[in-house]
Structure formats: structure tokens, C-alpha cells
């Protein structure tokens, strides 16, 4: 299994509307479509062709809709912006409109709670409207703002950047790394995970050297190969490369995992693997 095989898997799994479902023959969804555009572009395919479906993706008031129904997913919109940026594509509503919409939405603020030790008032991004902010959507959206906004930097509200960073710092686990949500619950310290830690490190790459970043990076270096999945290993490799750390072991683990990834056939996971394997040491991630 190599990058050519993964590319062929993705191309074969593409829907007639130019998008990708999570699995073959399923309705096109934003997350796998965005990952596929990122991956095929990184693998040398024509970005405009790969991203045609994403460029025409249905949107309302700047928020990308799920073709399968349901509310807009903010985390996936952050990922979609990264894909449009990587493929040098403009969404039909305008990438600036998507960024503006992403700035307008936020997770709800909560009162302090006795069930855990954290600042529930910080507003990052939730997965969907009217819910609490979580690490993953906040990290994807922060990464999107930092990566895609430079031409419009003056229009980006620095409070959103600051609050997103505050939230990620606030949610870091004792000893380093990030769980998907809280660092503690009902008096128990919760464990950090590889993919959420890697993603958060990518989102906080402008704050390298700070304690939580250093601790998170140490956790990731120790545990990068401990979670066997293409997504976890791919994100871990991207984060380690971004921070100038060795990736040979995690890339080898990713290659070993590929038969399972391909057999399960999840397009987002296949694309995450292809994206990472297609990048050279000097390439910027996202």
C-alpha cells in the first residue's frame, strides 16, 4: 500500500457531485471531502479539479451545510477552509465570507461547575450551534483563521484568536497533552489523546515555547505511535514535523497501519494518511 494506491482509492470513491462520503457510495460530507481535497492536492493532483465539489459546496450565510442534513459543523468548516486554501480555490460564496461566518459563531459560555476544574466561560468553537466549546473544533477553527486569514488579517477579531488559545491552554491535561474535551472530571484527571494533542499543537504553533505546548509536545513524542489509526498517526506526524521533531517512527507506524485503513475504507482516514505521506520534510502543514 503506497501513496499511489491511496490516491486511486480516493479517486475511485469520489461521488458524481465532486464530493466524498465517509465511505464509498455514501452521501458527500464536508469532513471527508475536505480531507480528500487536502490529500489529493498534496499528492500532486490538480487542486482545482480535486476541489471542484468543495468550491460549489452548499452554504447559507457563509456557513457550509451538510449535504446529508443537519446543522453546519464549525470544526469541519475550519477544515474546509484549510482545504480551499491548500488547493488555491475560492468557494462560490467567497473564502472571506466563510471566514467571516466562522468568526461569528462560537460555543456557548457556561457558569462555573463543581464537576470539573476549568473556565467554562471561555468561548472557542463548538461542533454545532448552541453547544459547548470543545478542543477539536476550536483547534481546527483556530488553525483555519491563522492559516487562511493573512490577506484579511485586519478584519480578524483578535479576541477570537486570543480566546481560542486561552481555551486550548485551559483544557490541557495535567502533565501535558489534550483530551477531546476536559482535562478533568469529578475529581479524576483525564488522559490526553494523540490526535487531539497533535491537532492542538498544530493550532498553537505560534505559541511554541510556552509550557503547555512544550508539555504537549513531550507527551506526543512519547506516545505518537501508541494509537493505531491513520488519523492519529497522520496528525501526530504533521505536528512533530511542524515542531522540527523526528517523524521516522510514526511514519513507519502509519505505513504499517495502511492495510487496515484501506480495508475499513473511511475516506477521511485514507486522505489523512495520503496527505501526510505526500509531504516532504520541508513542506508546511496546512
Amino acid at each position: 500500500m503506497n501513496t499511489k494506491d491511496l490516491t486511486n482509492l480516493l479517486i475511485a470513491g469520489r461521488n458524481a457531485d465532486g464530493g466524498w462520503g465517509y465511505y464509498r457510495h455514501k452521501t458527500s460530507r464536508l469532513e471527508p471531502t475536505s480531507w480528500a481535497v487536502l490529500a489529493l492536492t498534496a499528492a500532486g493532483q490538480d487542486g482545482a479539479a480535486a476541489g471542484a465539489g468543495l468550491g460549489q459546496w452548499p452554504a447559507r450565510a457563509g456557513l457550509l451545510l451538510e449535504r446529508a442534513g443537519g446543522e453546519p459543523n464549525y470544526g469541519f468548516q475550519g477544515l474546509a477552509l484549510l482545504a480551499l486554501h491548500a488547493a488555491a480555490l475560492e468557494h462560490r460564496a467567497g473564502n472571506r465570507a466563510l471566514l467571516d461566518a466562522l468568526q461569528r459563531v462560537k460555543g456557548v459560555a457556561l457558569e462555573p461547575s463543581p464537576i470539573n476544574r476549568q473556565d467554562n466561560g471561555i468561548q472557542g468553537w463548538s461542533w454545532i450551534a448552541d453547544t459547548f466549546s470543545w478542543v477539536e473544533p476550536t483547534a481546527w477553527c483556530l488553525l483555519a483563521l491563522n492559516t487562511c486569514a493573512p490577506p484579511w488579517r485586519a478584519q480578524i477579531d483578535p479576541v477570537r484568536i486570543r480566546d481560542a488559545e486561552r481555551l486550548l491552554v485551559d483544557r490541557s491535561c495535567l502533565g501535558g497533552g489534550w483530551n477531546y474535551g476536559n482535562s478533568n472530571m469529578l475529581g479524576q484527571e483525564l488522559a490526553p489523546y494523540v490526535p487531539t494533542t497533535a491537532l492542538t499543537l498544530l493550532a498553537l504553533r505560534d505559541r511554541r515555547g510556552e509550557r503547555v505546548v512544550t508539555e504537549g509536545l513531550e507527551f506526543l513524542e512519547r506516545h505518537a505511535t501508541s494509537e493505531r489509526s491513520a488519523t492519529a498517526l497522520a496528525l501526530a506526524s504533521c505536528a512533530l514535523r511542524t515542531y522540527g521533531r523526528a517523524t521516522a517512527a510514526v511514519m513507519a507506524a502509519l505505513r504499517r497501519q495502511l492495510p487496515i485503513t484501506a480495508a475499513l475504507g473511511n475516506h477521511a482516514a485514507v486522505a489523512a494518511a495520503l496527505y501526510t505521506l505526500s509531504q516532504g520534510d520541508g513542506d508546511a502543514t496546512f
Binding site: 490526535p195 493505531r228 487496515i260
Partner: protein
Amino acid sequence: MATRRSDLPLHHRQWSRRAFLAAISTSVVAAACRRAPYDASLFARPERSPVGLYAARDYTIDFKELIGRGLEDLHVDVRGRRVFLKPNMVEYESNSAINTNPLVVAGAVLAFRAAGAASVTVGEGPGHRRDMEYLVTETGLYEHLRENRIAFVDLNQDDVAEVPLRSRFTGLERLALPIELLQSDFIVSMPKLKTHHWAGITASMKNLFGTVPGAVYGWPKNILHRHGIDNSIIDLNATIRPHFAIVDAVIAMEGDGPIMGRPRQLGCVVMGSDLVAVDATSARMIGLDPTQIPYLSEAGRFLGHVDPRRIELRGERLARFATEFDVLDRFKSIRLRRS
């Protein structure tokens, strides 16, 4: 996890045990009092519900044979039917008892195939971890999927269809549910038996949280917590109406479940078509009074039987497995008083 404070189930906001129990009971009952939350004519129950208890000393036994025996004892006919198995896969930690053991899942697949099922599909949609490839790889389930050519569906990411809810404890009218689940015609809930720090116990009914698609509702499926865990459990079960349950209680979890608790050997598999009766029996087995567990108590009014006089035990006697699980302090008052 965290949710909007006003969205939290009542028991998140009440900390004395008495207040907690009173509040959570009120939350279910209040929903029932506002208007009829279900049409009783849609929920015919048998006079008595058979529940099978089968000894499994550890995971080396032949689960195809054991589950096949249960299907026969309980007169389950799946010939020509599309069977969907929903195990409980939440998180992976070695030597933990968080997930339904893959050997039980694989045994069930083989047993249903041998019983004449047209197809058997396995699917799960974790509310905690959303990386399904990680879970099926690390738990070892992938090897069984591969060896036995078993179809697997990530319920978080499947295509969905909106369905009307058949009861309204949550106040919700509709929910999007996975197509693969809806298109099957014999749904089997296959949980791990665990204590649960919000719901008291998690078994076949609570296991249905994993059918709600995260790609539509986000993680950790806040919509269910916002409308009350007990209410959501009842509405999901009333709507999906699983046909059968197989509870992995070979090694269960006590203490601070469903993730942080300790493994506890019970050596049992519980099976039955009435999920309320299966879970009520499982609760009694670990020393908890199901009538004091709000969602079981309420479900016992229309979905199935909690009353032991309405439950017909088959296989082993309950006394063989009956024990007292360690529970969090706030659940100690709902311990069964054994005579």
C-alpha cells in the same frame, strides 16, 4: 465532558444524594406529566418476558455456541433477516472492561449466521472517541472483522434519515439516525455491563446512545445530555425498538463507570428480547434496585418489564451470579436490599 449548565441533566446540578435522586426522578416524571409522552397502544408487552442467564467463566469459551444456545432457549427466529449488532465501544485501555469484548461480538455474528440470518452487520458510533479505526484496531475487533468477513459501520458517519420519535420524554420530535441501522430488521444491543456515573447503570438500553450520529449532532452528542440522559435513553429505545440484547457481563465494570471504573469478574452473559427486563435483571445481578433507576423505572411502565414477577429467568439461576458492585456514594442508596 462539559455542556451548557442549564442543559445539564438535573443530577449534574444537585449534589446531595437525596436531592440528586429526587431531581432525576422528577425530571422523568415531569416529562410524563406535561402530556402523555407516549401512545400506550404502540407498546404492547408480553405477559412475561424471558431473560436468559448463561455462564461464561472467561473469554476463552465458545461464544458462538453459548449465544446460539440462548437464541434457541429464547425462541429467537432470525431466518432471512438482516441483523444489526450494536456493541459498546467507547475508549480503549488495556486490561480494562470498557468495551464489549470482541470475542463476544464475533461469537454473536457466527451464532446469528448459523441461525439463518440473511446478513449480519456490526456498527457503533462512540460519543467519546470519534476515531473508529483506532477503536477497532486497538480492541482487536478488526481481526475478527477481517477473519470472518464481517461488515462494519461507523454509526457516527453513516448516511442518516430523520425519524419521528415514538415517545416524547425529551421533548424532541425527531432524530436523525443512521441508515444502516434503520434498514436492518433485527437490531441487537450488545453492551458491556457497567456502573455509570450519571445513569447508575449502563447496559442494553443506554447502549443506544451510540446510534446517534456524531457527524450530525457533534460530540459528545450534547443533544442527548441537554434533554436529559434518562429521557434520551427512553426515547431512543421507544423509537428504535431493538429486538434483542446480549449483555457482556463476563467481566463487567464497577465503581466510577463507564470508563474509569474497575473490572469485576461476573462470568455471565445475559440475553433477552425485552431490553428493560434484561437491564433490570442485570441491575439486580450487581446489587442495584432497578425500580430506583429512573430510566428503568419509567421504561417499566410501557416498554418492558422491571417487576421480577413478570420476568421469566432461563438458563442459570440469578443467585449464581448475584453480588454487590462497588458504586459511587450517590448510588449507594439504590442498592438492593437482599432478603
